[in-house]
């Protein structure tokens, strides 16, 4: 069931658009903010609420890479793999992360603490390589910086 809080937040978006469907991405982001991801059950409930079919809404959900249709860990690490970060040594960062966490890109650590995902260009190319952990941006990274950064996310 959508919570009252989720419904309230979604309804606050309706006046900004002429259709309920237009709120679909925002609505899924709201559910994801509360639950970490968007389940099949959430897709069905949201679709009804937005006057869409579940298939229509799922086609939207699966288009956008930052809508998670599978559970993720408590923290999501998004590592920029685009060109400027590649030139500036993102591969050594990625290697250190996968080694340190014992997971590959796209996986979640056994303790459910971190999910590791690639992300296209974060728009901070003059400070490459870069990554985001949850909402926080880290720039000018070196592999040796990672330990201290990860320690900040329990």
């Amino acid at each position: 069931m959508l919570s009252e809080e989720e419904i309230r937040e979604i309804e606050a978006e309706f006046p900004h658009y002429p259709t309920r469907e237009a709120v679909s991405v925002e609505a899924m982001k709201i559910v994801q903010r509360h639950r970490g991801w968007v389940s099949d059950e959430s897709i069905h409930e949201l679709a009804e609420f937005l006057e869409m079919t579940p298939e229509e809404l799922d086609s939207v959900a699966t288009f956008y890479n930052l809508i998670y249709r599978k559970p993720v860990g408590r923290h999501v690490i998004l590592v920029c793999d685009s060109i400027s970060c590649w030139i500036m040594g993102y591969e050594s960062m990625r290697a250190r992360l996968t080694e340190r966490l014992g997971i590959e890109m796209g996986q979640t650590s056994d303790d459910n603490r971190f999910t590791l995902l690639p992300i296209p260009c974060l728009g901070t190319c003059d400070h490459a390589p870069a990554m985001m952990v949850d909402e926080d941006l880290y720039r000018d990274l070196k592999p040796d910086d990672l330990e201290e950064i990860l320690a900040g996310y329990e």
């Binding site: 469907e21 288009f63 890479n65 060109i83 500036m88 974060l122 728009g123 190319c125 003059d126």
Partner: protein, 424 residues
């Protein structure tokens, strides 16, 4: 030299709040336009300025606006959208403007919306720009409080609502019509053109989509005049331009310079040249979807028409530099993987052709290449080029590929002959 776009940006500090922005002359252009100018006069001034779209395509902004039906017969609501979905790899100029002076873009949006008599404006912001999202939310709120947004702006007859829309990823959202679908809550697939968004955009209504840097220029054009703006440039394209450089240069960053500044000046004076011990091999002048340029092109002027002479494009004006210790095949492979991943899948050549291209490049990079692959790659760059696909994603994707095959041919051949990457 004047730097209208960045003069009030204080690096490392919060942006001007509403009061500070007003003290620096902010919202004066809006007062001037609402009190003394017809919408058509605003459009005329922008036409005179020769401002061309800063998202990469370079379409003349005033001309774009002039396609929107005006007058009593025009249907409402009309929409204005700020494209703040900066996702071109290697591009970080709009982030600078959004985080550095949000009111400047908002004022530019209100003026542009007034010119086309739009009723509603959206800022389409990419998900990753968290700081910009919170700054824009505050700035929109403050602009409403001060009477710059909402009903009867500054006691005029003009009213405008403005909303922030934060997206959930995908490069395709930056494509004008993909963006419109995304705003409607759909997959960001491109739409057929014509009809163009100016007459059939959001929910089928008249819509203008402009880039953040484009919109941020508008208050200055209205304050100082189109001719003043045009004269800021070294060439026919009007204004200043935010250029940038990333890669292994001494001083990567972004700088507001006259439009038409040479590649050499940007690279050597502003970016500080190559890092110690590295040699320059080439660059992409305006993001991942522009053709490589090399040493012989460094005196080219960075504007829309000049770079076309050398087979490339200004694009976003943010340069990505290739040095001699970085593998050009690996670099192109990274970009083709990006484009293959970001293809929306709507049309077959792009959906199938880009992954195929990336696979061939991976084979060469990993030491399994054959000489005939080079011809295959060349054929792909033609068949994925202009005229073969639904939107500009695939034609953009093959620009770095086709030019790398031209300028770094020996490096591709070495990979194949030695059956390994000479850089690894």
């Amino acid at each position: 030299m004047e730097r209208p776009l960045t003069k009030d940006i204080r690096q490392g500090n919060p942006p001007l709040n509403l009061e500070e922005y007003e003290q620096a002359g902010g919202y004066q252009a809006l007062r001037k336009a609402l009190r003394h100018m017809d919408p058509s006069e605003v459009t005329e001034e922008v036409k005179k300025s020769n401002l061309r779209g800063r998202g990469g395509a370079g379409f003349p902004t005033g001309q774009k606006w002039s396609f929107v039906p005006m007058g009593e017969k025009a249907l409402h609501p009309k929409y204005l959208v700020a494209n703040a979905d900066e996702m071109e790899p290697g591009t970080f100029k709009d982030r600078l403007l959004l985080e550095g002076n949000p009111h400047q873009m908002i004022e530019g949006m209100i003026l542009s919306a007034y010119a086309i008599q739009a009723d509603v404006a959206y800022i389409f912001l990419r998900w990753a720009y968290k700081r910009a999202a919170s700054l824009l939310t505050q700035a929109i709120h403050d602009a409403y409080q001060a009477g710059y947004l909402g009903k009867h702006i500054l006691d005029s007859d003009y009213s405008l609502e403005m909303h922030l829309h934060v997206s959930a990823g995908r490069y395709m959202c930056g494509e004008e019509t993909g963006l419109l679908n995304a705003l409607e809550g759909k997959r960001a697939t491109p739409r057929a053109k014509p009809p163009f968004p100016q007459t059939s955009g959001l929910w089928g209504k008249d819509t203008i989509v402009n880039n953040v840097e484009t919109l941020s220029n508008v208050p200055h054009i209205i304050n100082r005049g189109g001719q003043w703006f045009k004269d800021l440039s070294y060439t026919d394209d009007g204004g200043s331009k935010i250029y940038g450089a990333s890669g292994k240069v001494k001083n990567p960053g972004a700088w507001e310079l006259p439009m038409g500044t040479t590649l050499r000046e940007i690279l050597e004076e502003h970016a500080g040249g190559m890092r110690e011990g590295l040699k320059f091999r080439g660059l992409l002048p305006g993001g991942a979807s522009t053709d490589f340029l090399v040493e012989e092109h460094l005196d080219a002027k960075m504007d829309f028409s000049s770079l076309q002479q050398y087979g490339s494009r200004l694009g976003t004006g943010t340069i990505i530099v290739l040095d001699d210790q970085t593998c050009p095949v690996g670099m192109v492979l990274n970009m083709e993987r990006f484009f293959a991943q970001e293809s929306c899948g709507w049309c077959t050549p792009c959906r199938e052709g880009l992954p195929w291209t990336a696979k061939i490049l991976a084979a060469i990079e990993n030491g399994h290449g054959k000489m005939e692959y080079l011809e295959l790659l060349e054929r792909h760059s033609k068949l994925l080029g202009p005229g073969h696909t639904f939107c500009a994603l695939a034609p953009g994707a093959v620009e770095p590929l086709q030019s790398a095959l031209k300028y770094f041919r020996e490096d591709f051949e070495r990979h194949i002959k030695e059956q390994r990457c000479p850089w690894s």
